[in-house]
Symmetry: C2
């Protein structure tokens, strides 16, 4: 056992790898080389289109103990990961690790295959049942949660070698050129898949829409794809939208959005060249709506919006409020339509988006990001992974990456959920360190991190409801009462890896 | 001394590297891993735009003995390579190797700097004076000539490690996103530069058109660019057109084109899905015009055109005769305009184009390629590097790559140049092995390689002027007389590296 700089107790090792404790967001400098893979040779006339998934997997030489990956652009509509793991089971393989970009509730189908030892580890975060069962000790499957940028770093640095990557290819030709913009399962940006295509030892494109050679655009090139295989349906793009994508009508959410907008105004960043990211939740979109109105009124010409892209940001692009969008993942079908036709709607790899170990990611250029939280604590640390009941239900996404990159990260959250207070002495799990958080905004007021004294002074000057975070905590607890501490067992069910590869927290089994 | 399978005498080593003799186009299977480079970290707020080229070079740590690279999309209008080498000289550096994608006559300015030892080797082919002077023994600068695909292989396999790559960036933002489509020096596809951006240890973007962040499209990503520096003018895109780009009016050229078209018709490849490449010479374009007319008349819908792209191919794309264009380099400004706006005009890296050691290059998908020659021999070997006077005046380009990849490589050439016959007992220099050549077409008839017996039979059936290549040689020599053998010294001034890294020929000093 060791403690990291945030006081979190960590195991000495996990899944056979030593645990390096988190210290701060900046001090880890990368050592070593980018991952590499074997040179290949494919001669003219050699076909790549194989009969079925089993043949493709066999040709890649997948064996017990190896690591596979998929990407989660179809989110809860994804059919590929379940299909692949069923095939792996059918082939009698065991002890396979999954290093996908994310796992969703639809992948609860894997639970029996985890119990049977077909899958024995998740090198990625999870949304939904698998995390819940692991948290309760009802399923054994060690999980390493990574941010999108952290995953790009882990794969491109060789920390997580992917033996076989399965690329969901909505439009693909028989030689492996592929894109996400066309076809019945079109989901838009291939964002997370680029890293896999460049670094996995073997790359299989799986498609439900084989187009005549060459597929255009070729977001991913034939030069990186070893095998092509057909599948009846990659999934249901109608389920890309897995959270709300409308501006909230809830008065609490609207109040939070008003305060968050005040913070943005006071920050001084809302001017020509403004860059901005929000998630797709109703409160975030309410902030976006306010920002949009301010930009219109003040004739501000922004630089870019980035991250997962909603139709809301597409509208802002088309209105001229942004010069460009950087899209790692389309959050709705309007974004898919836009990336297909608008040349300023840029497809972005997860590496370019958020990898801390390259020549400079897009998150580094963000002015303001709006992020959610299940909890925050008095040191501004944020929990976006576990709920206050201790269950691991959420993947990190770009949370820790954008907070580290942006000039100002604003956490928006209602002051309580159910009868539980949002502001804690210590969060149940640290996803994003307080050192990278600028302000916490609830409907009861705004807490500004001491690292941003000028922002605090300006908000006070504007008579915004600024409160010390402990004061905010006391006000909330006056309503909810102090939360009962959770009881955890000793077993570590998951590590929360910070974007630089150090461990910022461990998730332990919740005691019944 | 050793001989390769074509009987060419080779030195045992060159520039300190052992020489591996060429055997055949297919038997070399790659061993080892793709090249890699150090992981980096660039934090928010760290600028990449530096004051001047010297500062950028210093920050990259360029030292004596290292290797630099540029790319030749501006062809004879390029100002960057001279500018860079002048600066290297100004900084007092010596013994630098150039591994650019090509060197052009405009770079004759480097001759004094080669004499002074600032530049001591060319890891690339040359067009023009430098090759001539080296051939004559008047300049000492060992040259390794590579095809476009061979260069992509050499760089991506680590055979030629590039210490600092200088990317000519016609449109670039201060964080290194860049494209070739916009700006006063726009040259279109960034083709050759992709390999450098991915593999060079340090990457400097040099631009004469700094655009607000983010540059769109971002053909090359900020995540791969270390430094950005301004330069007054990258070059003159008006000089991209360095060869003729009009259909020839010369009766000899037109006759060759008619015969070449007959070969294409007889091949059976001219049908729906047809894929095609030609160079930009007048005879090649005359073939393209004939093919275009046939496709129109027979309502053939082709698959793709590829390589360096001319306005002629743009017209064919727009007419619907091709589904897409794969563009590694725009050959004229009409192609530049097209790549800017037509989504089926695809920007292609040299790796995707022609690297033999990836998961399958575009050349593998070619049906027919039309290629030129300075000489061919009775074994169908082709010389595209030296003239019949022995002077090394031409780079290989995609010659050897497309010949190897295409189902049918057709060599078009006049039967004599000056008083010198094109068909020889043995070519002065082998660029492309006869094993990958289908037919040689002159105005005096068509010689078909025995490897294509069905093509020969079909041409005979169609009463085309098929001749044995030795018969063709005799007919030509009846006019020109037998050519006098050239006399060479022992010194090897250049190696001709085949696309797989083996050595297909050596170029020696021309005597007196």
């Amino acid at each position: 056992m060791a403690r990291n700089s945030l006081g979190r107790e960590l195991p000495a090792s996990f899944q056979g790898r030593p645990v390096v404790p988190y210290r701060d967001p900046w001090s880890v400098r990368p050592e070593g080389l980018r991952a590499t893979r074997a040179l290949k040779r494919v001669d003219p006339g050699q076909p790549k289109l194989v009969q079925n998934l089993q043949e493709a997997i066999e040709r890649c030489g997948l064996r017990d103990g190896m690591t596979i990956a998929t990407h989660h652009h179809l989110r809860n509509g994804d059919a590929l990961l379940n299909h692949v793991v069923r095939m792996i089971d059918h082939m009698g393989l065991k002890d396979v690790k999954i290093a996908s970009s994310s796992v969703h509730p639809v992948h609860a189908e894997l639970v029996p295959l985890i119990r049977e030892g077909v899958v024995t580890g998740l090198e990625c975060g999870v949304n939904g049942l698998i995390g819940e069962l692991c948290s309760k000790g009802e399923l054994r499957c060690p999980i390493t949660v990574r941010s999108h940028g952290g995953r790009a770093r882990a794969v491109s640095s060789g920390q997580v070698p992917i033996d076989v990557a399965f690329l969901a290819a909505p439009a693909c030709d028989e030689y492996g050129n592929l894109n996400g913009a066309h076809g019945p399962s079109a989901f838009g940006s291939m964002g997370y898949a680029f890293t896999d295509a460049l670094h996995a030892r073997h790359v299989i494109a799986v498609t439900d829409h084989l187009v005549p050679y060459p597929a255009a655009p070729a977001s991913i090139s034939q030069a990186d794809v070893d095998w092509v295989v057909r599948m009846e349906r990659l999934g249901d793009p109608g389920k890309i939208v897995s959270t709300t994508t409308r501006v909230t009508t809830d008065p609490v959410g609207l109040q939070i959005a008003r305060y968050a907008t005040q913070v943005i105004e006071a920050s001084g960043y809302l001017k020509d060249g403004f860059s901005f990211q929000t998630g797709s939740g109703g409160t975030s979109l309410a902030v976006a709506e306010n920002v949009r109105n301010l930009m219109r009124a003040q004739r501000i010409k922004g630089s870019f919006g980035c991250g997962g892209i909603t139709g809301y940001f597409v509208d802002m692009l088309e209105e001229g409020l942004f010069q460009a969008l950087f899209d790692v993942q389309c959050f709705d079908l309007k974004a898919v339509e836009s990336i297909r036709r608008n040349r300023n709607h840029l497809e972005m790899s997860a590496d370019t988006y958020a990898n801390p170990f390259n020549a400079g990611a897009v998150v580094n250029r963000l002015d303001v990001v709006i992020l959610g939280a299940t909890e925050v604590d008095v040191d501004f640390n944020v929990n976006a992974n576990t709920e206050s009941n201790g269950l691991l239900l959420h993947n990190t996404g770009g949370h820790a990456d954008t907070a580290a990159g942006a000039k100002l990260a604003i956490i928006v959250a209602p002051s309580m959920r159910g009868r539980l207070p949002i502001v804690r002495d210590a969060v149940t799990t640290v996803t994003t360190p307080g050192a990278t958080v600028g302000a916490v905004v609830t409907e009861r007021g705004i807490a500004v991190n001491d690292r941003h004294p000028e922002l605090k002074a300006e908000l006070l000057r504007r008579r915004a409801p600024v409160k010390d975070i402990r004061q905010l905590q006391r006000e909330i607890e006056a309503v909810t009462g102090a939360p009962r501490p959770l009881e955890f067992g000793d077993e570590v069910v998951a590590l929360i890896e910070y974007r630089d590869g150090t461990i910022i927290d461990a998730v332990r089994r919740v005691k019944g």
